[in-house]
């Protein structure tokens, strides 16, 4: 069983479209995250949810909207996609108390044409 799973793994779409990436974790963790990795491999936090409550919201365009229906799921919806949104998006989770150990999914590679 995959601990943190993301779908889809690959996503190719046109500028202006709206797309979603889904994430599920079966570790029983209470905190989930979205990170963006750009073409230079630089990783940056986008959002974090703790028990369905948004606790971190970095400077991300409001075209990006996270949604957490329950503590095991954190989805990312992106409106009006732009070329600069092309990246690998990683979902991660961590347990209560935050020891610094994040469990990452395998990433969703988004390509905007």
């Amino acid at each position: 069983d995959t601990a943190v799973s993301q779908t889809p793994k690959y996503l190719v779409t046109q500028m202006g479209n709206d797309k979603s990436i889904k994430c599920e974790q079966n570790l029983g963790h209470d905190t989930m995250y979205w990170y963006k990795q750009d073409s230079k491999k630089f990783l940056k936090i986008m959002f974090s949810y703790n028990n369905k409550e948004l606790i971190i919201n970095e400077t991300v365009p409001n075209r990006f909207s996270p949604k957490s229906p329950d503590k095991a799921h954190l989805n990312l919806h992106i409106n009006s996609l732009e070329l600069g949104d092309s990246a690998v998006y990683f979902c991660a989770s961590s347990q209560e108390g935050f020891t610094g150990e994040l469990f990452f999914g395998e990433g969703s590679r988004l390509t905007v044409l």
């Binding site: 491999k41 974090s48 991660a92 610094g100 395998e106 990433g107």
Partner: protein, 113 residues
């Protein structure tokens, strides 16, 4: 704010020789520091973490790192490289008061046969 700087973007070693990946940190107090590894097309995995209990930290797969306050360094080492060690390595620190990690720019480790 805490930050980390990885001094080499790319390191190449021969199989069986030692590995040294360099990381310097910037913090006004005792930081939490981590090393994560990312194998090609995979998510990130925690290698080891420093949380002030001991300056020499042992991790998985034979890796270790030494926290040196006088040098503000947290270099990652391994006595003997294996082909399977080829990956991207990230030095990471924890954002102040937040359940989020701040990643360095990454070091790509190449292992030659």
């Amino acid at each position: 704010a805490q930050s980390v700087t990885q001094l080499d973007s790319h390191v190449s070693v021969s199989e069986g020789t030692p590995v040294l990946l360099r990381c310097n940190y910037s913090s006004s107090y005792s930081p939490s520091l981590f090393w994560y590894v990312q194998h090609p097309n995979k998510g990130l995995q925690l290698l080891l973490k420093y949380t002030s209990a001991a300056t020499l930290v042992k991790g998985i797969n034979g890796f270790e790192a030494e926290f040196k306050k006088s040098e503000t360094s947290f270099h990652l080492t391994k006595p003997s490289a294996h082909m399977s060690d080829a990956a991207e390595y990230f030095c990471v620190t924890q954002g102040t008061g937040r359940r989020a990690l701040t990643f360095g720019s990454g070091t790509r480790l190449q292992v030659q046969p």
